[in-house]
C-alpha cells in the first residue's frame, strides 16, 4: 500500500472512462448509452478534481468539474427528450434498429 497519490486517482478515472466507452459502444438501449456517457463524464470529473488537488492550478479544476456537472445535467435532459421523441416515432429505442438514415 503506497501512499495515495495522483496516480491512483488517475488510474481510477481512466478505468471508469474506459468502462464508460464500453457501455456506449456495446449497449443497444439508448438510455443505457446515456448511462455510459454519464460514466465518461464522471471519470473526467475525477480527473479534474485530482489535478486540482495535486496540481498547481488552485481550484480551477473544481470549477471546471462544477461546470461539467451542470452541462451533464443539461445534456441528459436534452438527450432524454430526444429519446422520448424517437420512442414516439419508432416505438422502440434499440439503437441498432434506428438506421433509416443509412438507407
Amino acid at each position: 500500500m503506497l501512499e495515495i497519490s495522483l496516480t491512483h486517482f488517475l488510474v481510477v478515472s481512466s478505468i471508469l472512462f474506459c468502462l464508460g466507452i464500453y457501455g456506449v459502444v456495446t449497449r443497444k438501449n439508448a438510455v443505457m448509452v446515456l448511462m455510459g456517457i454519464e460514466l465518461i463524464l464522471n471519470a473526467s470529473n475525477i480527473n479534474f478534481i485530482a489535478f486540482a488537488r495535486y496540481g498547481n492550478f488552485g481550484l480551477q479544476g473544481q470549477m471546471v468539474a462544477l461546470f461539467v456537472i451542470v452541462l451533464a445535467a443539461a445534456e441528459a435532459a436534452i438527450a432524454l427528450a430526444i429519446v422520448l421523441n424517437v420512442y414516439k416515432t419508432f416505438v422502440n429505442i434499440n439503437v441498432d434498429e434506428l438506421d433509416t438514415l443509412r438507407d
Binding site: 481510477v12 438510455v31 436534452i78
Partner: protein, 361 residues
C-alpha cells in the same frame, strides 16, 4: 454615293475636331515646373517624413502598436520611485524612461496611423520629402534624447529596485509561514506519529473502498442485462464518485454531484427507462452489440492509457487539503468565471425550454 460622301465628310470633320483640341493646347502654358529651382506647392495635410518630439513622449507604445509595418521600435524602463521625469506639454506626468525610440523611415508607409493614437501629439508628420541617403542603415532614425550612460544608469536603478522588492516579498512569506506553523502547533502539542500513520492508513482504506464501489458498480452498469438494475448500479457509482471527491478535498463538488447527478440526472434516466420500455414484467431485458471487438478495443485502450498514467512523472505539488472550498469557489465564480457562470445559466434555460418543447409533442 451620298453615303460615301457623308462618310467622307464625317471622317474629315472628326479629324478636324481632334486637331482643334491639339491646336488649342499649343497656347496652353506648360505645367512642368522647373524643379529643383522651383518647388511644388504641397497640399495642406500632405504626409511626409515623421518627427518625434521626445520631450512629450510618455513611452505609451501606442504609436508602435498602431504602425502597420512595424517601423517604430520602442523600449522603456520604469523609473524608480522618487525620480521626477517631468510633465509633458499637455500636463501628463511621465513615469517611464524611453531608452530606445527607432523609426525605420525606409519601412514607413506614410499612413499617419501612428500620429492619431499619441496622447501627447509628440509624433507628427512634417513637410520634409527630400531625405535621400547613401546607406540603407542611415534610414533608421533614433529619436531618444538620453545618452548611453544615462540609459545604463536607469536600467540599473530599475533592476536594483526589483531585487529589493523580491527580497521583501520573500521575507514576508517566510514570516507568514512561521506564524502559521506556530498557530497550528498550539492546540495539542503531542507529536503523534502513530496517529499520523494511522490517519494515513485510514485514508488509504477509505480510498480503496470508494474506488472499489465505483468501479464494481460501473462494471455492473455496463454489463447488466436488466435496465433497472443498471440504473441502480449507476446510483452506487455516483455515490462512489462523490466519496472520491471528498477524499480529494472537493467538498462542495461532492455535494453538488450528489444533488445534481443522483437527485436529478439519475431520476431523469430512470424516468426515461420507465417511459421507453415495456415494464409489464419486472425483468426488462436489453441486449448488447458486438461485445467482443468492443471489449478488445476498449481493453487495449485502457491498457495504453493506464500505461501512460503510470509511466508519466507527474509534477505533483503536494499542498494541504483546503478546509472549505466553498468560499473560494464562490468567489471565483463571481469574479474570474462570471462569464461562464452566466452563460451556463442561459444554457440551462435553453436546455429547459428545448427539452420541454421537444418532449411536449
Amino acid at each position: 454615293m451620298i453615303n460615301y460622301l457623308q462618310k467622307f465628310w464625317g471622317g474629315l470633320f472628326t479629324i478636324l475636331i481632334g486637331m482643334r483640341v491639339t491646336f488649342k493646347h499649343m497656347f496652353v502654358p506648360a505645367v512642368t515646373i522647373q524643379y529643383p529651382t522651383v518647388r511644388p506647392e504641397l497640399p495642406e495635410r500632405e504626409r511626409n517624413r515623421l518627427y518625434v518630439n521626445m520631450d512629450d513622449c510618455i513611452g505609451c507604445d501606442q504609436c508602435s502598436r498602431a504602425c502597420p509595418v512595424s517601423c517604430i521600435d520602442i523600449e522603456t524602463v520604469k523609473s524608480i520611485p522618487g525620480e521626477d521625469l517631468g510633465k509633458t506639454s499637455n500636463g501628463k506626468k511621465k513615469a517611464l524612461w524611453v531608452t530606445k525610440f527607432d523609426i525605420d523611415i525606409a519601412k514607413c508607409c506614410y499612413c499617419e496611423l501612428c500620429v492619431f493614437p499619441c496622447p501627447t501629439d509628440c509624433i507628427y508628420m512634417t513637410d520634409v520629402y527630400e531625405f535621400s541617403e547613401f546607406e540603407r542603415s542611415s534610414f533608421i532614425y533614433d529619436f531618444v534624447t538620453l545618452t548611453k550612460e544615462e540609459i545604463e544608469d536607469k536600467k540599473k536603478n530599475f533592476a536594483e529596485m526589483q531585487a529589493q522588492k523580491e527580497a521583501a516579498k520573500a521575507a514576508a512569506a517566510i514570516k507568514a509561514a512561521e506564524e502559521k506553523a506556530a498557530k497550528k502547533d498550539e492546540p495539542g502539542k503531542k507529536p503523534d506519529n502513530e496517529k499520523d500513520v494511522k490517519l494515513m492508513g485510514v485514508y488509504e482504506i477509505i480510498f480503496y473502498l470508494f474506488a472499489a464501489v465505483t468501479l464494481v458498480s460501473a462494471v455492473f452498469v455496463v454489463t447488466s442485462r436488466n435496465i433497472v438494475r443498471a440504473a441502480f448500479n449507476l446510483l452506487f457509482t455516483f455515490f462512489g464518485v462523490a466519496g472520491i471527491y471528498v477524499l480529494l478535498g472537493a467538498d462542495f463538488v461532492a455535494i453538488v454531484q450528489l444533488i445534481v447527478y443522483v437527485g436529478g440526472i439519475l431520476i431523469l434516466l430512470i424516468f426515461g427507462v420507465m417511459i421507453t420500455n415495456k415494464i409489464t414484467e419486472v425483468d426488462i431485458k436489453t441486449g448488447t452489440l458486438h461485445t467482443l471487438p468492443a471489449a478488445i478495443g476498449v481493453g487495449l485502450f485502457t491498457g495504453i492509457v493506464g500505461a501512460v498514467v503510470l509511466n508519466t512523472e507527474w509534477r505533483v505539488v503536494d499542498s494541504e487539503m483546503p478546509e472549505s472550498t466553498l468560499t473560494t469557489l464562490g468567489h471565483m465564480l463571481i469574479t474570474e468565471y462570471v462569464l461562464i457562470f452566466e452563460l451556463l445559466g442561459i444554457l440551462l434555460l435553453i436546455a429547459l425550454i428545448g427539452a420541454a418543447s421537444m418532449a411536449r409533442k
